[in-house]
Subunit: 351 residues, 2 copies
DNA sequence: GTGAAAGCGCTAACAT
DNA sequence: ATGTTAGCGCTTTCAC
């Protein structure tokens, strides 16, 4: 008794049928809520279900139906707040519609991304929410296209000719960051990013640069962009500072970049905002409790998830029409890590 | 062509069979690697598979087999690094064995936990990795027991009479934290935790208290334990400090507690480690880049995931024997947020 | 060596 | 209003 794990055979629809004295088809109808069943029989079925603890096997049920009530979600990683919240939201929205979400992590690899997609295709999922590693032009989206899969692209995407896309309005947020920094008097700013995430990082950089140059044509914007991994970026950043470059502010175009920038500041003994200002794209819980609190762009996770699922289910239900490309507005939180340049040490110390 | 999403019917095993001029049974055998197939026929089958791009439907396949090659994972949340890494690991280990991981978030709710479990039971998953919201005595574990499900319990558990358990060795890690703090001269320490996570928080507290009292019988250990939610904890902590309590160090028994402590320090203008020291259970990436870096207990995620899956698959493959209870050793990183009491301002400033 | 037959648990026509 | 039939796509005896 202690560690029995006997998988006792569960009651099937036939068990219910025979116990209720009807056919399996009738049981199925009762469960589907079809009105044309004699109330008396319906009651017997309900009783039998109750007594046997019967529950439909969703896989067997899907097997027979045309489409499976499964949604696949592919995220670049699960370790960050952003994607963690995203999966939580998507799961919740899928459940609300009676679907099960099966999430997988591509671990920032396009090869793995395609493998997962192939597996989801094998599973014959009804639809896929793909947050591609790089952008909408990768092999994964191509695979979806080639196989006529239904899907939505989110996050590191702009727009696509085959799939609906939903992402944060990076350009607008970056423009706002530019306005803030220029407004505070910064004229030498470093932008830090990872090139591989082309779709978003490019947009963020362009949105920032355009607005900054527009407001202050004399502003100098340096860019440190690593190809694809964080460690090379760290090295490049170190070299950049080692050469004596001394921007008054850093705009990190993605979360890990903010961490890297912060650790390079540490190494050099620079404090925010007195020695240098810092704003990052992507917020995290810790950013408001550290000292100084780190300024950040907050992505609208719920909106992205919500509109992605809306678009996806519309397509699943057969909606026609050209793909849509949604941009959800971000919020920018200018916290203590941003100050005015040249204010010298301690001038901007929190009270 | 732009937005075609025509779900073209995929090749079935019969399509392959007729193209190769054999029966479906033979195709199945070839795919299973059965040796008793004439090489010539096997080749024809392979060719047909290739030409049709045939892939087995894993769900249909599982339908026929006894057990489905699906592992369910239930985590209290997806938003933290710890559980994010855990899911990533579990997914990877499941895949290595040809299983698919279906992860779900209980969102810190025991009610939801049981619902998810029921759904996974409906799915007839081969096994479940459950990280219970509270501990091993909750309704979810009871459900698993009652239904003869195969499973492993991880994280917020100690040991169970029905399931194997794997968790971090909280007591040992807490003892080490105690040694460090007592060694540095702290004699008034506040421990902060959430009561609902009883299994782990209790252990951490006891391990800490026992060792601390043993080393310094005169030490004063205060405890602020909230029932179940973070916000009440914040309020209690605020009250505690408002009453004039002034411990020289805080040991947070879980991640959110560290955040809450930090934000209360902020509110009062206290800096670590000069005004107060801080160590938290659970590490996070940001803790090493902020100033000061936050001392933390690092949980061995990979080991926990690894041993959990090992135990689970052993049971799935029919291993008998009493449940095992593993404790995986943690590492304690004493970073700059911990100093000696009474060193006054700036005495412990990083170089 | 290979294939026919049976069926996993369910649902959707089609009869009745 | 209900039951019968025919599968969904696959695997597995069990004959041949």
């Amino acid at each position: 008794m202690a560690h029995r794990q006997d998988q006792q055979r569960r009651a099937s629809i036939h068990d219910v049928a025979s116990r209720a004295g009807v056919s399996a088809a009738t049981v199925s109808k009762v469960m589907a809520g079809v009105a044309t069943v004699k109330p008396e029989n319906a009651q017997r079925v309900f009783d039998a279900i109750e007594q046997l603890g019967y529950r439909v096997d969703p896989l067997a049920s899907d097997m027979r139906r045309a489409k499976r009530r499964i949604i696949g979600a592919i995220m670049p990683e699960f370790e960050s707040e952003f994607f963690g919240q995203m999966v939580t939201q998507l799961e919740s929205l899928a459940e609300q519609r009676g679907y099960t979400l099966v999430a997988a992590s591509s671990r920032e690899s396009e090869a793995r991304e395609t493998e997962i997609l192939a597996r989801m295709h094998d599973w014959r999922v009804a639809g896929v929410v793909l947050a591609p590693v790089r952008n909408e032009h990768g092999p994964a989206a191509a695979f979806m296209k080639a196989n006529g899969m239904t899907g939505v692209l989110i996050d590191r995407v702009l727009s696509d000719d085959a799939f609906d896309t939903v992402s944060a309005d990076s350009a607008a947020a970056s423009a706002e960051v530019a306005r803030e920094l220029i407004g505070k008097g910064h004229r030498h700013i470093l932008a830090v990013g990872l090139g591989e995430q082309a779709a978003t990082v490019r947009t963020r950089l362009d949105g920032f640069r355009t607005t900054a140059l527009n407001l202050a044509p004399d502003v100098r914007i340096d860019v440190v962009l690593a190809e694809s991994h964080v460690e090379p970026l760290r090295a490049q950043l170190r070299d950049y500072f080692a050469e004596g470059e001394r921007p008054t502010a850093v705009y990190s175009l993605f979360l890990k970049g903010t961490l890297v920038a912060l650790s390079e500041f540490r190494r050099r003994g620079w404090h925010c905002p007195n020695d240098i200002s810092l704003v990052g794209f992507d917020d995290a819980e810790w950013m408001q409790v550290t000292w100084p609190a780190i300024a950040a762009v907050v992505q609208p996770v719920r909106q992205i998830a919500g509109h992605a699922m809306e678009a996806l289910f519309a397509r699943i239900e057969g909606e026609e029409g050209p793909p849509t490309a949604r941009l959800e507005p971000c919020r920018v939180f200018m916290r203590e890590s941003v100050g005015s340049p040249g204010n010298g040490p301690h001038s901007a110390k929190p009270q």
